[in-house]
Each structure stands twice: as C-alpha cells, then as structure tokens.
Amino acid sequence: MTKMKRLLLAGLVTGIASAGAATDNAAQEARGDSAAVTEENGRYFTADGIPTYKVAADGTVDWMTYSGFRRYHSECHVCHGPDGMGSTYAPPLKDAVEQMDYYDFVYTVSNGRENVDVSHQKVMPSFGHNKNVMCYLDDIYVYLKARGDGAIPRGRPAKKEAKSDVIAEDVNACMG
C-alpha cells in the first residue's frame, strides 16, 4: 500500500460514528508485529526497531506507555477524545496508529494535516515546534499503539515500570 493510500484510509476513520465502535477487552497479548523484542534502558522496540509498548501479565506497563497516557491526555485529548477514542470532530487515534506506521505518525504530528471541503472542517496543526508534544512523541505513539492493539484498556494504567535514568535525562535534554 502506498503512503498516500494509508493516509487516506486513516482520514476516513473520522467522526462520532466510529468513536465508540471498538470494544475494549481486558489486556491481551501484543499483536505479533508490535511485540517487544529488545529493551534499552526502559524503552522497548519491535523486531524492526520501532518503539513499542510492554505490558506484563499483571498489567504493569512500561514507563513510556504510562508517560504516553499522561501526555496524550494533556496535549491530544481536547480534540481526539479520552483514551484515543475520538471526538465529534477528530478521529480516534487508537485506530489511526493501526493504519499508519510509526514514520507516518511522526510525520503527521510534526507537520499537521488538513481536510477542508464543503462538508469537512478538519485541521490538525503542526506540533513540530511544541516541545510538550515532540519530546514525548514516542511515549504517545506506544501508548496509542497499545490502545489500538487492545493491549491496555481505557483509563489510567494502574501499574507501571519505574522511569529509567536515561529516559529522565533524555526528556530533560529535550525540554531544555
């Protein structure tokens, strides 16, 4: 599938009708392509080296997923709704990350996108210069991916891994 096609598909997943359509089950196994294969200082990666989440059998999530929950509900949820579920005017991002890959996600958040015509007035701004978003981009991605894969339910993750020193240092360096 071309990149353009994927973007279009994600764009179709919009509006209130789809907002509550997906059901939430209890935590389940990560999908094959999201499975954490490697770990580096508290961050997890897939076989392709893409950032991903890690949910333990007792529901403990990795720090990045927990952090992503917090950052999503500060920066994204006023348009995209609670728990990545969408609002009356912005698509559910938990579904969007299932249809666009990591690189498309980073591109869209950095550059924004527009869908404005006679029946749509959807505009996402560019967050490329917003440190509150860009310094936590991987956090937000792995959180949404965990939501989209059904690996974590709605709401605040109850248990989390500790924040590693490296993650803390990286955030401080990024925020300046």
């Binding site: 907002a19 509550g20 609670p82 728990d83 609002s87 009356t88 007035q121 210069h129 709401g155 605040r156």
Partner: protein, 600 residues
C-alpha cells in the same frame, strides 16, 4: 477651522444616532414578539413574556418548520428575530443567514466570511460560535479568527470590519458580542494557549477601538483605579493585576473572556467573568493569579472597573469564571436589592449586590461538589470571600506529577457556558448542569506561542454514588441558596434554558430532545427528538399572531469531546470500564434549526 467644525458636527451626529440606537434596542428587547439579543435581554434572563404556548397546551406542540445550516460541527447560541427576519449563525466558517419569516424562511441574504482554516485547530473545544447581535440596523458577527464584522441587517453588506486578536498566538473567538450605547463589547478565547484575556470596546458606527481592559497586567492595562476599584468593599491597591503573579507570568496569564455579558442601564455597569489562569498546572504559577476567575463590573463608557470579585483564587481545576451574570431586583430581608446571580464552573452559585459587589450568598448548586467546604462569609475574617479548599482535592497541595482523584466537579464545571434562565413569575433560576467528577494530574509544561499550554492530565466520569447520569436540570432559589427541584439527566445538559410566562421551562439535551417542564415542579410536559444533540439555546418569538419556539441542534463543543466515546471511571476497576453511556450511541453530527408552534 472649517475642518474642526465639520469634525465636531460629525461626532455630535453619531452620538445622537447611537443614543437612539440604544433606545431602539432596549425597546426591541422589551417586545416579547422579537428575540433581539442572545440572552433575551440585557439582564440575561432568557425569559419570554409570551404565554400562548403554556403548561396546559405545550403537550400539543408540533414542528412548524426546519432549516439545515449546512455545517456539521457544534452549534451553540440561538437565532435572533428582528421584525420579520430571523438571523441564524453557524460554527466555523461562521455563516450568517437572514431568513424571511413572511416567506417560509426564504434566504434573504447570506454572509460567509473567508477565514484562514489554520484557526480551526487553535480553538480549544470545537469551532463553536454563540451567535450574532443586533444594534442600530446592524448584525454584528464575531468570527472564529477574531474578526468583528458589522453587516447591514437588510442586505448583509459589510459596513465595517476589525481584527480583535491574532489566531497565530492562539487568540480566537467563540462568544457573541454585547452592544451597549454607541459601543460593541467583545471578548477573547484562548486560555489553553496562554492568551492574556481582555474585553475591548469598538465604536458601533465606525468599528474604531475605544478602550481595552485586560484581565491582568498593570493598572493601565486592567483599567483599575487602586483606590476606587474595590473587591468586597476594599480598594484593590496598586497594580493588583501583576502583584499576585511571579515575574512576567501575567503576560501569558489567561483570564479569557468568552462568556455571556450583562448590562444594567441604570447603574451603567457591564458585568462579565474571566477564565482560568494559564497553565492548568497550578505549581507553575504561584499566587492568587488576579484577575483570572473574577466577576468584573465595568463602566462601558470608559472601561474602568468599579468592583471585582475573584471567586477561585489560584485555580487548581480549570474552573473558568465566565458563566452568565444574571441581573434581578429581588427582596432580601424585606429590602429590595439589585442582585447579580452567577452559577460558576466551580460548583458554587453566587448572589451579590451588583451595585457594591457585596457577597450575599455562595452555596453549592450540586451536592456532589467536594473541592471546597464553602466560602468564608465573615467580613471581619482574613479569608473573607475565599473558598476553603479541601486538601485531599487540592491539585496544588498534592503537587506536580501526583494524580488527585475524585474531584467534583470536573474541569467542565458544574455548569459551563450553557446559560440559565430566570422567571420573574416564580422567582426561580432554571439551570442546566453537569454532574461529572475527575482525576487531575498537573505537570510542568513549556510555553510556545500559538501552541496548547495545558499541563495536566484529566479523566472524567459521572459523579459517583449518584443516579449514574452526567447531568441535572435544576430550579434554584438564589436568596436561600437552595435547589428547589432537580431532574436527573443521562448526559450533561449543555443547552441554554428558557422560561416563559406560560409557566413552562424549555431546555435541550445532548441526545437531541427539546423538553418542556412545569416551572413550579419540573414535571415533564413535552419532548421531541431533533436530528442531533442540542448544545444551542432555546428562544421564542411571535409572528403573524402565533408564538414559536426555536432551537439549534448540532452536537459538539466540549460535550462532543468528553462524551462522544462515553466516560469511564478508572477508579471503578476494570469491570465497569466502558459501562457508561456513549453519546455516539444516541446522536450524530448535523446543524439544524427546528421551529415549534401549536397546531391551528
């Protein structure tokens, strides 16, 4: 010399017209067959003297006609009716339609501004607009991009246009405007973008700026007199708008002004409230953060503040103070008083003397409210007028990166902007409310102009240990500070109420019902399901000897964000997650006006 003479006579002429224009507007507001201003009148009563539709016959109400606005997003505010013309507005792109009531709503003219679409994502909570105003033969529209435009009410021709703010810095508009005398008063939105709030007066004839009063800053910016401007009877002192801030933080201090304004022609005072201080992380902005969260009384001629009252010093929950200020003359302890009643987001209903700013009543109008034990009413106390904050629910005391749970109300308040109604017949206020609580975790954020500046993670859920719904529609006694009756609603009531001389009260629901209830008991007499959820305000007018009731449908706004997918309570454990009603199971997008009347 000749030039000066000519100039003087022009000024004299325009002042004369303006005085007449103001009188004409006052007469239209007094005429119940018209709906000349969004709030019904200058006092924000949202009350109709019409009684053709009443408690005995409202059950027979039928749809007379409908009108699609052609826009999908959240529809707040209401139409106006001036003479034989109805003026209907829409959310972004802010179209205005003039409909001919003598010709089945034929479109006499339409105005669609060209606005840069980049304004859309800097509007915090949907691209709503709360309607146009009328004065002196002009329809005044305040667009999303902060352009204020005066249109010829007969033709739609642009008479003047002025830019009030800069959307690139996150300055936008969602509110209506208030025409007073020869001026138009306008506010600004953008508290989630670090905008410094202000009210600006423009000349009704020319669009020229006459004064601007900021919510914070030095006295020259806030238009306050250190000696003469008072809070609870005491002078505010020098530079009160910077004194309770650390360093330059007041420059991105919030206190935006997107609510409903009222006006007392006798006292010559305009009343409005200011919004939350930026950011939502209280630890990042120590101090009382004056004058965010404040009721303001200003002279419309000069902008000078007569009195102020800060309801929620050092906000820790996003309880904007912008809700409507309702002006009534009522008896307290055998004495007629000029009162101001305000249902704040923080869950307290305030009754003040609107001449002096004296605080008379401050009581919870939802029993679920728990962040405060109440307001100190002792004038001799050091904390007079301040709410006592419960430590358990203080996001400031619990600190950054701590999740404070079970706070009631949630950030959207016990009530948001959806305006109440006052019936002089019953002496009661009819209030659309939210019944939602939250968890709130503040954390440090950095400021970038034009980018969101929030700094907290929120989860919201229906008030625990209650009826399970997310709203109530209540009748309130503002003298006793008591709920008279309360109707539980499945969703927040996000529609403006209207009481009438027919002993009934109308309101809309998020599922899309227009409901009519008895003013004395709350007993439901009528309901009709409109095509989409209602966040608009009910209005009434008479045409050709018949009374009509109209409301805009079109779900969205804050309600469309939080409730679309349904709320969850993370504290209920996994079993209950997803167990609450999702608005998306009841309604879909679509802007439509529905007009009701009795069958012939």
């Amino acid at each position: 010399m000749r030039t000066i003479y000519a100039l003087t006579s022009v000024i004299a002429l325009s002042t004369g017209t303006a005085a007449l224009a103001n009188e004409a507007l006052q007469q239209m507001m007094d005429d119940p067959t018209q709906w000349a201003i969004q709030m019904g009148d200058y006092s924000n009563h949202r009350y109709s003297e019409l009684d053709q539709i009443n408690a005995d016959n409202v059950g027979d109400l039928k749809v007379a006609w409908t009108f699609s606005t052609g826009v999908l997003r959240g529809h707040e505010g209401s139409p106006l009716v001036i003479g034989d013309t109805m003026y209907v507005h829409t959310p972004f792109p802010n179209i205005v339609y003039a409909l001919d009531l003598n010709d089945n709503g034929r479109i006499k003219w339409r105005y669609e501004p060209k606005q840069d679409t980049s304004v859309i994502p800097v509007m915090c909570c949907d691209t709503v607009n709360r309607g146009v105003a009328f004065a002196d033969g002009k329809i005044i529209l305040h667009q999303a991009d902060t352009t204020v435009v005066a249109l010829d009410a007969n033709t739609g021709e642009v008479l003047w246009s002025v830019k009030n703010g800069d959307p690139e810095k996150g300055e936008t508009n969602t509110a209506t405007v208030l025409p007073v005398k020869n001026k138009v008063l306008v506010g600004i939105s953008g508290g989630e973008f670090g905008v410094r709030g202000s009210v600006t007066a423009y000349n009704l004839e020319t669009g020229e700026r006459e004064w601007r009063a900021y919510s914070m800053g030095p006295d020259s910016d806030t238009l306050m007199d250190p000696e003469k401007t008072t809070m609870l009877g005491k002078p505010v002192g020098v530079d009160s708008g910077t004194a309770t801030w650390e360093g330059d933080q007041w420059k991105i201090g919030g206190g935006t002004t997107w609510g409903w304004y009222s006006y007392d022609p006798e006292l010559n005072l305009v009343y409005y409230g200011t919004g939350n201080p930026s950011t939502w992380n209280p630890s990042q902005r120590p101090g009382d953060n004056r004058w965010s969260m404040t009721i303001m009384a200003r002279d419309p001629d000069t902008g000078m503040a007569k009195w102020v009252y800060q309801m929620t010093p050092h906000d820790e929950w996003d309880f904007d103070g912008v809700n409507e200020m309702i002006l009534t003359d009522q008896e307290i302890d055998g004495q007629m008083r000029k009162l101001l009643t305000h249902f704040d987001r923080n869950g307290l209903a305030y009754t003040l003397d609107r001449e002096s700013g004296e605080l008379l009543v401050a009581e919870k109008y939802d029993p679920a409210v728990n962040w405060t034990t109440g307001v100190d009413m002792d004038p001799n106390s050091d904390t007079y007028g301040r709410p006592a904050v419960v430590a358990e629910y203080s996001t400031s005391q619990n600190g950054e990166d701590e999740n404070t749970t079970g706070i009631c109300p949630a950030a959207l308040g016990t009530k948001d902007q959806q305006p109440s109604s006052y019936s002089p017949k019953t002496g009661l206020f009819y209030v659309p409310t939210n019944h939602v609580c939250m968890d709130y975790e503040p954390f440090r954020v950095s400021y970038t102009a034009g980018q969101p500046y929030v700094g907290a993670t929120l989860s919201m859920y229906p008030a625990p240990d209650s009826h399970g719904g997310m709203g109530n529609f209540i009748a309130w006694d503002n003298i006793k500070g008591e709920i008279k009756w309360s109707i539980p609603e499945q969703f927040s009531v996000w529609s403006g109420a209207m009481a009438t001389a027919g002993d009934i009260v109308f309101y809309g629901t998020l599922e899309g019902y227009l409901k009519a209830v008895r003013a004395d008991t709350g007993e439901e007499l009528y309901r009709f399901k409109t095509p989409s959820g209602i966040i608009g305000n009910v209005m009434s007018y008479e045409h050709g000897g018949k009374q009509y009731v109209a409301v805009l449908s079109g779900v969205g706004g804050w309600a469309g964000i939080g409730l679309a997918a349904g709320l969850t309570n993370p504290n209920d454990g996994l079993g209950a997650v997803g167990g609450y009603a999702a608005l998306s199971d009841y309604t879909a997008l679509g802007g439509q006006l529905t007009v009701f009347t009795l069958p012939d």
